[in-house]
């Protein structure tokens, strides 16, 4: 089991550009959540995808968007990059249980995005 895999591991972009980050969930998981972790901070929730729809969203602008594919993998897109978007972007996968609470979330290694 490969666990949660994210690509690329590192990325350098210029202000104003657009970026796409990718996540493959752990085998058997159907829910993907994205987090932004700035240097020296804890992760902050961006949004969550289940059944190819955005289910919950944190306090992030519309420049942050996502997608989930039928195979449960997911993409995070950020438009009009700002210097402040430089961070480690973490993907977490889980299995949505009978209620709203997912089972344990497994995190990927993250994508380190640097905006210059």
């Amino acid at each position: 089991d490969a666990g949660v895999t994210q690509s690329p591991t590192h990325l350098i972009k210029t202000r104003g550009q657009q970026v796409t980050l990718r996540c493959s969930p752990k085998s058997g998981h159907d829910t993907v959540s994205w987090y932004q972790q700035a240097l020296g901070q804890g992760p902050q929730f961006i949004f969550q995808y289940y059944e190819e729809e955005e289910r919950q969203r944190g306090n992030f602008p519309d420049r942050f968007s996502g997608h989930q594919f039928p195979n449960y993998s997911s993409e995070l897109n950020v438009n009009a990059l700002l210097l402040g978007d430089s961070a480690l972007y973490l993907c977490a996968s889980s299995l949505r249980g009978g209620g709203s609470m997912n089972t344990e979330a497994f995190f990927g290694q993250g994508t380190r995005l640097t905006v210059v």
Partner: protein
């Protein structure tokens, strides 16, 4: 508002000594509580979680945590620290109805000296 406070930014302990990392939370519903560990350049690994029941929970790598509702705390403990425990530790809170929308603290960096 939901929030998690980890008052200790950095802690240094000697190998073999005991450890306690503090976590206080503010949450408007019955909280689900978690401790994660992050090694440099790595993702987050779940150490333990509290959903309900016994307020003392056991986790991996010899860690345990105690939920104290009256103090809104969920402190992490380990009786004897190993050099390999050096890492960043994050406390997180969630709720039953929010799936995996967690609120994380700012983390505590643990240094272990021989």
């Amino acid at each position: 508002a939901q929030s998690v406070t980890q008052p200790d930014i950095h802690i240094t302990v000697s190998e073999g000594a005991s450890l306690e990392l503090r976590c206080n939370y503010s949450y408007g519903a019955t909280p689900y509580l978690f401790w994660y560990v992050q090694s440099p350049g790595q993702g987050l690994q779940l150490l333990l979680k509290y959903f309900s029941g016994d307020t003392l929970v056991q986790g991996i790598k010899g860690f345990e945590a105690e939920f104290k509702r009256s103090q809104s705390s969920f402190n992490l403990r380990k009786p004897s620290v190993h050099w390999s425990d050096a890492a960043e530790y994050f406390c997180a809170v969630g709720a039953y109805y929010t799936g995996n929308q967690f609120y994380f603290g700012t983390g505590t960096s643990l240094t272990v000296i021989p």
